[in-house]
Structures are given as structure tokens and as C-alpha cells.
Symmetry: C2
Subunit: 106 residues, 2 copies
């Protein structure tokens, strides 16, 4: 199952690195502990809505942009999971259908 | 500040109502307590990623679609907040800039 916090962590980490910020920089700017931000980036902790707002403000990125990036990333994961080879192998009669999905997604 | 859980709650409630489901129906389908779902819909509780996944599965909606709707809703709120009349009154020299934003958003 695609998990919100994992994709959110990936998006937040990429934004931080794109801006050349260290965890320490972001921790100071957002006034959130370094360890907590690290756990969020690794998808190990849920970020509260207030904390997410603070991180977006510190990164100077609108929350809506972050959520759109997370949505795109989750969508990619959903497509990948729908053509899981284990699923294909266990349901050979559906391989053609799933193949069509792959073709149209390519 | 736009809060993720408030917009998420609005989106989840609309999806449930569009499908003609009661809180009781969704509670049974998602195996989540009725009171908890109600608090999430009202933006009072954060939904864990696993719970959010269960609600999306019970509503038969991809998580990515829900997140895109939440992003759109947050974006609307961000625009509304950027033209807050109190902000305009306290920064009269910026009124023209903010007016341009309103014009291009219309």
C-alpha cells in the first residue's frame, strides 16, 4: 500500500537538498528538532499538520505544491503496484489487461 | 495557515457523501471507529498514513486522487490568505501587487 508519510518524506528531503540545506539548517529555520525532521524524511514518523506547515514555511514552498508532488509520487507507486509481477504470475488470465495498462501508461 | 488535516477532512467527507455512505457505513467498511472518522472529517484529528489508506480503500478512491483534491483545496486557501484584507490594509504600498494576483487568479 502506498503510504502518505513515505512519499511526503521523499518530497521534503528532495526539496531540502535542492535548496542546499542541511538537516541542521532546516531544523533551525523551522524550529523543529533535527532528529524529528530526519525521521519524517525517512517516512518513519507522521508529521502533524502544524509541523508540515512549519517545514513548508522554512523551505519557502507552498503546502499545496508539496501535496501535489506527493500526489504525483503516490500515483506512480499505485501504477507500479497495479502491475506487480507477483500479481501477474498469480493471475495469468489477467496478464493481457494489465499489459494494456502498462502500454497506455508508457 | 492552511492545515492539511482540515482540507483532508473536507475532501474525505465530500467523497463519503457523494457515495451516499453514512459514517456508520464507512466505519464498518474501513474497520475504523465511527467517532475517529468523524473527528478526521472535522479536521480535529490527524489520520495516520495507514488509516488514510484504509479510508481510501473503503471509499474505493486512489490515495493519489484524494491528495490531489486536498492540494487543490489548500491552493485555493493559500490564494485567499494572500489577499487577506487585513494584510492589504496594513501594507497599502503592496495593494497594487496583491491586486494583480487577484486579477490573474480570476
Amino acid at each position: 500500500m502506498a503510504l502518505f508519510r513515505r512519499s511526503l518524506g521523499d518530497v521534503l528531503r528532495e526539496l531540502r537538498i535542492q535548496q542546499g540545506l542541511t538537516l541542521r539548517d532546516l531544523s533551525a529555520a523551522a524550529r523543529v528538532s533535527l532528529g524529528y525532521i530526519s525521521e519524517i524524511e525517512r517516512g518513519q514518523k507522521e508529521a502533524s499538520s502544524e509541523l508540515l506547515g512549519s517545514l513548508c514555511a522554512a523551505l519557502d514552498v507552498p503546502l499545496s505544491d508539496v501535496l501535489r508532488d506527493v500526489s504525483d509520487r503516490v500515483a506512480t507507486e499505485e501504477v507500479a503496484q497495479s502491475v506487480d509481477p507477483v500479481v501477474l504470475a498469480s493471475r495469468p488470465h489477467r496478464a493481457a489487461d494489465v499489459g494494456d495498462v502498462v502500454a497506455s501508461a508508457a
